[in-house]
């Protein structure tokens, strides 16, 4: 049975359509990354999956059923704000939350003595994860779960997330960072309320191309290209132009008398999101 099944779901707020015609499924043990720019509809979709918001159209099933209070107990959620009480210790946070879920409180491994508000962000994130998983949820929804922590702490958090997935929990991670997106088994890319791409990281970033420009000196070439609403970025001294053909970029540079080496390269995940958004 699918952990989440979303079919033909739309959600409107007045005349604004936040989510439109979304079909999406995920099963137990899967780690899915939900990516997209702000306003893409990620948060609205998540709120509907959590049962906090009714769809205007379409059908959402979690564990094959409509939302009920009992079902809520099978879901764990860590918002970006972590949802911890800052003036309680980590252990007190766990106990308080466990009681609400009728679960046995977990034991926080590290620094459980201090108040949450005094702990490092990495320790706070581990505590929030422990609080959201102590009732052994079958579905975990995480919003940028490793933002702001050191690279090693990030991998340690992903160890915890992966252990849950291996034990059969479905994990839905909302993010717009590559560092997190590459940890997912599958990505779902949203833009303007719709799902615009779905699949492995490799298949999504292979779908769009950028033009890489190497010129010496690079700064003159950049100044020439840095006009209007061109989608332009820099990697080291390589200029990257999006949404324009190699010929057109070459012509713009040639007109300014700049000799450059141009190549068509696969767009990064960031660049793909920007292109699908514009």
């Amino acid at each position: 049975m699918k952990s989440i099944s979303v079919s033909g779901v739309s959600r409107r707020f007045g005349s604004f359509t936040a989510v439109e015609g979304v079909d999406f499924e995920m099963g137990p043990g899967e780690v899915v990354g939900l990516v997209g720019a702000n306003g893409a509809g990620k948060t609205t979709l998540i709120r509907m999956i959590l049962g906090l918001l009714e769809p205007s159209e379409g059908r959402i099933r979690v564990f094959g059923q409509k939302h009920t209070r009992q079902q809520r107990r099978r879901i764990g959620y860590v918002p970006q704000s972590l949802g911890l009480y800052r003036d309680l210790t980590a252990q007190e946070n766990l106990e308080f939350r466990a009681e609400a879920f009728g679960a046995e409180p977990a034991v926080v491994g590290v620094a459980s003595a201090g108040l949450i508000g005094d702990m490092s962000l990495g320790a706070q994130r581990r505590a929030a994860f422990a609080a959201a998983t102590q009732h052994d949820p079958e579905l975990l929804v995480l919003d940028e779960p490793t933002s702001g922590v050191s690279p090693l702490s990030r991998t340690r958090l992903w160890d915890l997330i992966r252990l849950r997935a291996e034990a059969g929990t479905a994990v839905l991670v909302s993010t717009h960072y590559m560092d997190e997106a590459e940890q997912a088994d599958r990505l779902v890319l949203m833009s303007h309320g719709r799902i615009v791409a779905e699949g492995s990281l490799g298949s999504i970033i292979g779908s769009e191309a950028a033009v890489a420009v190497d010129a010496d000196p690079w700064d003159r070439a950049f100044a020439v290209l840095d006009t209007g609403s061109r989608l332009l970025t820099l990697a080291g001294t390589t200029i990257r132009v999006l949404g324009e053909s190699l010929e057109l970029v070459g012509a713009t540079l040639a007109e300014a008398g700049i000799v450059a080496n141009l190549r068509t390269v696969p767009a990064t995940l960031d660049e793909t999101m920007v292109m699908l958004d514009s």
């Binding site: 490092s120 702001g148 003159r220 820099l234």
Partner: protein, 270 residues
């Protein structure tokens, strides 16, 4: 308007204390004009402290610090840099007044245009989206054409579309010859910088171009079927494993480098 050629800003053997807390130890960064330098690390690494020193904010410091005069530095503090109860246009005007700029309006309009804020001149900064606020802060920092641009986590929590606008702003400052220092927690962003400084708990783990950092990493990191000990971590369903005595080679990412650098300090602590 830019640093005279041959002059570079930066810090050498920097030491910073907050009372009894050692915030930074033995940190060195040479800032080259026209180059984007990424200062990378997690919470508590010391990024903000280093950037405050570079912005010329008075701290209890030791070591050598070379920065331009206050009027030649553009600084965006974390989560700040704009006045929420002033409009977008008034925020720009405020900077122009503070720096006594004349004839700044065309440049100001161009910066706001690049940031996609030209339609929002009358809007209160406090009513902009998070990404728009960061772009306004960046535009304000760039307005006086600083020699040194210091940006503390301007892209954190910002969505990819605004992030690209910010990178274009930052790159345009570098193309104009400014030295740029940007603090970030994200390695994919650091990968795009010309120079990278990895900080962890107030000390410097490594510095150099992204390429040099990858080539200079100690040992080997490779995919393994199952982890062996604490020197392994996951990337998706795969495991990465560090062998400190490995001969090197193989494809290594900046994330691998940062993890290995942090693991090395754990080894020393044990």
């Amino acid at each position: 308007m830019n640093a005279p050629s041959g002059v570079s800003w930066g810090v050498q053997d920097l030491k910073v204390d907050y009372g009894k807390t050692k915030a930074l130890r033995r940190v060195s960064l040479r800032i080259q004009p026209g180059v984007i330098h990424a200062v990378v690390g997690g919470d508590g690494a010391g990024k903000t402290t280093l950037l405050r020193v570079l912005a010329g904010l008075g701290l209890d410091t030791g070591g050598i610090i070379r920065i331009p005069g206050a009027g030649r530095i553009g600084y965006v503090p974390p989560n700040g840099g704009v006045f929420g109860d002033l409009s977008v246009a008034e925020n720009m005007e405020f900077v122009a007044d503070a720096y006594r700029l004349s004839g700044w309006q065309p440049r100001g309009a161009a910066l706001l245009g690049r940031a996609g804020l030209d339609r929002f001149g009358d809007r209160l900064a406090g009513r902009l989206s998070g990404g728009q606020r960061r772009k306004l802060a960046g535009s304000m920092a760039l307005l006086p054409e600083p020699d040194l641009l210091v940006l503390d986590e301007v892209t954190t929590g910002v969505d990819p579309v605004s992030r690209m606008d910010l990178w274009r702003l930052i790159a345009s400052a570098a193309a104009g010859g400014a030295g740029v220092v940007i603090a970030t927690g994200y390695l994919d962003e650091a990968e795009r910088a010309g120079q990278v400084l990895l900080l962890h708990e107030g000390t410097q783990l490594a510095s150099g171009t992204p390429q040099a950092l990858k080539e200079g990493m100690r040992g080997t990191v490779s995919d393994v079927p199952s982890p062996d000990g604490h020197r392994a971590w996951r990337r998706g369903r795969r495991w990465r494993q560090w062998d400190p005595d490995g001969a090197g080679g193989g494809k290594v990412t900046l994330e691998d480098v940062a993890i290995v650098a942090e693991l090395s300090t754990e080894g020393r602590a044990r």
